[in-house]
Amino acid sequence: MFGNYHHVSGAGWSLFWRVPTFNGSGLEIWWADFQGHRVMWRGSAPFAIVPYHHPDTNGEPPPPHFSYKDGLDIHCGGAPFRALRHGAPNSGLPWHSSAFDAADDVDAVVVKVEPADDFNVERLTISAKFQCGWYQYVHSWEFSADGSIHPRVAMGGMLNPNCPTKSHLHDFYFRIDLDIDGQFPHDICEVFDHDKLNDPNGDRWIEITKQMKLLAKSASARKWRVRSTTSKNSAGEFKSYEIELPQLSGLTPFSTGDVWVTVYRGDGIQQGEGVGAADCSDKELEANYAVGPLHPGTTGDDIVLWVVVRAHHEPRTNGEEADHLPYHYEEFSITPRSFARLRPAGASDSR
């Protein structure tokens, strides 16, 4: 059975995971709480956009766009995320054989709690792999005892059999619904830029006043945060979580932004996942979803972010990727600020 919520805990976290009933959208995380406080209502990675160098693709992906829309609401030759059972091989086999399909959700999802050691804090990780045409995608969410979340995705399977030498990009879209301390709809979204080394005033946070598309900028260490306007820590600082997005590739006509700030409009299936039907691009996120005012100066809002993790793949066709694609991970971070009290492992807790 798919579509049920399963509770797990560890590393200071409590959360539920779900693989939806309908093949397509992958692994979802619901109601993630850290140290007894709500951090995230829901996190998911329901679709990917994969544009290829073209035009000589031998029909895969097809013209005129040469770009797949995978996951939920597939278009342009894209394929759904089909849950594989734990242990399915990383190869082309699960593409043509249903023998590796997960019979139910617990057959697909692996939960691990890794203890702290000299180099890492305790971690709770929830992972599952999905077949998508000849590709495999791993969805993995790591929740650390330092309060941080690392949503990750890996690419595996095999190279496009019709154009195995053609470079392409994988654009993975995450929908992140942070609810800082559960105080929705009283959060605001802000953007950070480092400007100069002057102290003070070398760095700045600026409130975002309307729903919009946002761009990464490594030159200014750009990041974003969702900050409560009502919930403070013991030092009197507003609690927040920051999004740090180290992009390894730039924009294309199909993947046109890095982050979109929107507001909660429900958890139905048409909250942005349906982009790409017309032209295999994400443009509808800006045109249809990241539209309308925000209210940072008054009530705040129930902020929902779309975040893209992007990777350019130059195939190693006759070398390391000739047989299969070793899993290659990309990730971003969701990091607390003024949210949690942390102590070294083994220290007494005097909360």
């Binding site: 709500r38 609401d73 278009h75 030759g77 059999p161």
Partner: protein, 185 residues
């Protein structure tokens, strides 16, 4: 009690438990009965999903709803009926062009329809060829289209995709067929 779980999540626990078979059956029966006047005789219940939206007020409780997804092939509509715990219809949403993932029954039907088409039959019968699904271009009239790509097998290893067929489940025919191999059409 889990000390890491927030009070808000603890209150959710009874709401998010897996629906029983009886609850599922009741939801489907209610949705079909409610929509009966609007459905043609060619519809299929694609599946059911527990739907938990945030409450409208911060101290409120989310409603426990079941989403029943129904595709009407003749009328070219995909509908989501939201049903409460008592089987009462809360709302019906027309998903317009949104393509809910194909069910295994739909894929079987699409493969069978394709296999009857003379252009596809020679591929469908080959042991060294397999078919897998993809999402074709949208249909302006919202027909439920299933893309099938036919790829070769060399032993256990998949080879190139050699043909694409688009099956229209609304008309039960192959809408288009393309053979990637040179000189074939």
């Amino acid at each position: 009690m889990n000390s890491e779980m927030s009070a808000a999540t603890r209150e959710l626990e009874p709401i998010i438990v897996a629906p029983s078979d009886e609850e599922r059956r009741r939801a489907v029966d209610s949705a079909v009965a409610y929509l009966k006047q609007d459905l043609s005789d060619r519809y299929r219940v694609l599946g059911i999903e527990l739907r938990i939206d945030k409450p409208s007020k911060i101290d409120g409780q989310p409603a426990r709803l079941l989403g029943v997804f129904i595709v009407d092939y003749t009328k070219r509509r995909t509908l989501e009926a939201l049903v409460d715990a008592h089987g009462k219809i809360v709302s019906v949403n027309d998903l317009h062009g949104f393509r809910i993932s194909y069910t295994s029954e739909e894929l079987e039907e699409a493969r069978a329809i394709a296999a009857q088409d003379r252009r596809v039959a020679h591929l469908a019968g080959r042991r060294d060829v397999f078919a897998s699904e993809y999402g074709p271009e949208s249909d302006p009239k919202n027909a439920r289209l299933v893309g099938l790509r036919y790829a070769t097998l060399r032993g256990d290893r998949p080879g190139p995709v050699i043909a694409h067929a688009v099956v229209d489940l609304s008309t039960r025919e192959v809408r288009s067929f393309e053979d990637q191999r040179e000189g074939k059409d």
